[in-house]
Symmetry: C2
Amino acid sequence: MNFRLKKIRLHALFLFVCASPLWMLAQEINSPNKNLVLKFELRENGVPSYQLTYKGKPVIKSSTLGVETKDVASFIDGFSITNTTQTAVDVNWDPVMGEQKTIRNNYNELLVTLAQVKNNNRYIRIRFRLFNDGLGFRYEFPKQNDLNYFVIKEEHTEFQLAGDHKIFWIPGDYDTNEYAYTTSKISEIPSLMKKATVEINSQWPIKNLAVQTPSMMKSSDGLYINIHEAALINYPAMSLNVDATTFKMSSHLTPDAVGNKGYIQTDAQTPWRTIVVSDKATDILASKLILNLNEPTRYKDVSWIKPVKYIGIWWEYFVAGKSTWAYGKENNVKLGQDFTKLTPNGKHGATTEHAKEYIDFAAKNGFDAILIEGWNVGWEDWINNWKEEVFDFTTAYPDFDVKAVHEYATAKGVKIIMHHETSGAATNYERRLDRAFEFMNANGYDAVKTGYVGKIIPRGEHHDGQWMVNHYIHVAERAADYKIMIDSHEAVRPTGLNRTYPNWVAQESARGTEFEAMGGLAPEHTTILPFTRLMGGPMDYTPGIFQTDLTYYKTGGNQRVNTTLVKQLAYYVTMYSPLQMAADIPENYNRFPDTFQFIKDVAVDWDNSYILEAEPGDYITIARKAKGKNEWFVGGITDENARTATIAFDYLPKGKKYIATVYSDAKDASWNEKPQNYTIQKIIVTSKSVLKQSIAPGGGVAISIKEGTATDMKGLGKL
Amino acid sequence: MNFRLKKIRLHALFLFVCASPLWMLAQEINSPNKNLVLKFELRENGVPSYQLTYKGKPVIKSSTLGVETKDVASFIDGFSITNTTQTAVDVNWDPVMGEQKTIRNNYNELLVTLAQVKNNNRYIRIRFRLFNDGLGFRYEFPKQNDLNYFVIKEEHTEFQLAGDHKIFWIPGDYDTNEYAYTTSKISEIPSLMKKATVEINSQWPIKNLAVQTPSMMKSSDGLYINIHEAALINYPAMSLNVDATTFKMSSHLTPDAVGNKGYIQTDAQTPWRTIVVSDKATDILASKLILNLNEPTRYKDVSWIKPVKYIGIWWEYFVAGKSTWAYGKENNVKLGQDFTKLTPNGKHGATTEHAKEYIDFAAKNGFDAILIEGWNVGWEDWINNWKEEVFDFTTAYPDFDVKAVHEYATAKGVKIIMHHETSGAATNYERRLDRAFEFMNANGYDAVKTGYVGKIIPRGEHHDGQWMVNHYIHVAERAADYKIMIDSHEAVRPTGLNRTYPNWVAQESARGTEFEAMGGLAPEHTTILPFTRLMGGPMDYTPGIFQTDLTYYKTGGNQRVNTTLVKQLAYYVTMYSPLQMAADIPENYNRFPDTFQFIKDVAVDWDNSYILEAEPGDYITIARKAKGKNEWFVGGITDENARTATIAFDYLPKGKKYIATVYSDAKDASWNEKPQNYTIQKIIVTSKSVLKQSIAPGGGVAISIKEGTATDMKGLGKL
């Protein structure tokens, strides 16, 4: 452990009993490497403001800060600075699972205490932490005689951008983050918003012009800027209002059922507002700023939290009309009825027999677990009815024998991943949660995929509101009591809480692979996601689709997964998640055993990660070292354009030879023509090697690097 | 068991493919005793309507029926009758606990099937049950291809009254039923509404003119009419819109957070709309119509559901400034903090030592249990903050040792009643419910008083809305899993569900004794409650206040409980509940051991009940036979006026002498002068005796009747 801590206190610099309207007081801090400068000052009328520069270039021009309240005086103006404190921190910490074994947390902090004379000297604090890779700041509301409870009407945090940046954006929405990305200038957002707001189940687009975070931007002078939030706890998620003329963004909180935007009990603080910035795109992907701003876990025992590579009865529900979640033909069922009396539709996916087939496949190929969706009663009418008691999470369909499947899986050394679709009825889930987890414990499940498809119950609440934010955390904490890992789908976008709740191992919270079966994803989609959605935490993107041409299934439609086969391999490196799926159906893996080998080999937890190349919307190349093993894996992807990736190996121990197995697109391959054409080549590499690898349009490259004996290396080419 | 069942089916009388606008089809049924006649007919445009007469007098003049929906076509008009069925039922059943051991359920039923040609022959049913004591009817929505889910905008059930009746009413309100009653003509309601709408915590008065049910009325020609509902399940509670000019009332459902008034999945039915009617007020109190319209319980084992007579650490929180629910002086606390670090306020009521004093008193005086409020952390800031995580239901204050109290109570043969105040945060309660009940099981609690003081969470929901209606039932059902009895306070008004969920043994749901300590109750209040609130089920009114002059406590204020001491005794008979409190503090019972004897003696579960005299707003006299014992108890009360009660004893077995102990107001007593002056007299009574007993203004009479030996009777006067 590297632990350096330096504390500088500037005691109560000034205390103004009466603030002069023309007076300003400024405070400045630098990032440890001095590239970033944060300046805080009070404007006229005691309005707090801040600005941020990177190597002298403006990132955020002077922008005001404030919180508007409903029932007490607002925290907007009339402030004087009563105290400032500067602190320097440089410590290392080890995540339970992660992209690197050890993370450095190095920042300079400015803590400003602001009092309102007009409100009986009631005071708040704003805490800034300036890292080499960006800024985090938050509002803090200390407990005091005159401030115990209040309701937020809106947070007014401004982000005055310096120009009409290129932006990778999805529409602001209280209920879904499953939009496709649009790339445009900020000034173009108004004309593109309507088209961008495609139909999604249970959406609630924000009425004014707004985009979601993480918001990835690039300035014309080459600055990469990412705005998001960290440690979203007991507070609504933030979207960004957009002024497309002045390029000013501002916070837009998700309201609750009665229009309020946060119930605060002091001591309290907002989530951190984060601005990751660099002149290198790779720095954005390498940033651990958001994790660093989250609190360490308070779990005493984390030994039960483990990486999971899994397959599942899942993709077949989307393609091929092969099978269904539902067991019965009926479209109106109720918990408590006798489900053995339903008329079987004959295509139920989660049968005991089918589960055993998947278990066999998982055992044979070294997977940790299989996900089984559609095992429990209620799927006949689970969607679009705003129905509360859709599922009970403990009653299996008549053709699914929980005990038999558990015993079979245990005998084969495979775990079953539980599935808890809530249909958005969070109240129903909460009231059944202890029993659901007891059921999991009793039947050997140690991880659960949760789902929130549909309008939220409590009715009027939103997926991204304070109540649901607390719900997801409640589920994670309760799950920890039962030593259960969570993989949440359709939950609020992540904000690094996997540090604090490390059993909340992954989330969907974006447009994932399932949309490849519902119209397709743009080839550039996955070159954007790491710069946006994945800034907040691991994504259960569910890669690994080998049969990309979906007309193969001959069940109608004319659709494809818009990648080459090899790009699907590369995702195991570019799309970080310690819970990683091989999403295709087993028979397709059996058809391509040589490429399937990469999925079998690839690690899901890492000692270190190296962002080799990156440009949002264009390409990403990442190398990672497997945790605790001398094995490295490289993934490179491109958008719809072919390119040549430059893959360095300088992260390998010097002076030693390794065998690299390179999975690459065939020359004639592309996302829409011959996507399954690939080549596999073994070569010898060292830390000095550099590979120039051509990648097909919509394609990728995947490399596994292992130690080998001289015999293993015999006859192999050298790079 | 007396079981007679006669079924008459009138098959598909007519089926109209096209309804003629002038066509009407009428159906009529009589009550078994022919006093009541119900007529159903379709008006022009196929609008359903009904009317009800009693001995030829109109009770409800022709009134329309219908349900307005949001997302499917409404169930308002365009109906034709496609089938009618008549059924006669006469059966007896035994409640688990009750005012009588056996209840007769005797009615004639008319079931009308109504189809809407314009909506693809979609059909509903209206089911009428006509008893000798009134009418119940409900809408039924059968499952059908075109009708699986819908949302109710409003139910339009009309009650066209025949005149400007006298009415005992409280304001319509979505959140509270704790108003004082106003007695007026219907036409006078508009001018009195403002005054009647006193301030109550978390109220939500209905904007248009509306009153709550049970609504008790008396016509100028002597008909007593009570409108309420039965079996309120998965539906919002109904208030009554009032047209003060035409005397038409109509259903007004409680909306949810987004303004909807019911989410329906077929098969479904509304609660029963009930009209209890008679020319004798005593028949209203004797009516079991509402219980009869509820479903029998599905609990297999009810042996653990038992009557409870209890005392509690409770009244001292209201009077005397003696003690507090809260332990600390702080006004801002959070679950999870270290409560031993709070600054004790020095007046915490629920201490281990104080609990033991109550246990000693309960054991000495034969009480089953003691209620202990304020035992668990969170009371420092529990109210008025719309705070969700107020209580955890499992963490005791530092000065309350759950295990020690449990052991002490067990050794003395006394149970502790758990207290779960939710502060209105039903979500918080639900998510902690299993753990709370497990905690109760582990610590020997078998009953819990629940509380819902405050604005509901889910925010935007109301105490009386569909979601909360389901919540209360959920709590009752879950409690049954743990063999726990429920006594709910601030819940929706009861509708006879104690038949279906017999562990939901009692409710408050009205202005109870606590208001005697917060401004006082009118002396007539308790002569109205049995005609209103108690029509729906047992009330935990918490009677038994002996020290009625509250200035006695010398802690400021000039206030009194507006009854004589004896009237408090009478409540044990007039205010039915199988869970009955002796609410005063032990020291006051020790001061009056002779009158306290009545409370010790009185039963709380009954073989039979005899409504001897009654006039709403004026007086009530009831005799009851203790369950399984040859003991009878009589309670008589009056309003602010003195009166002479005529107490018959003809329910006693003929030809046998009994000893009656008569507790009566002294001649100089009244509710506001010398309320503690009383006389106790033992006399011999037989079935032929009649006692003319004078009752003081705001006073009462209580009589216990027991068998006795000749020696016991020696020297006693004879009536």
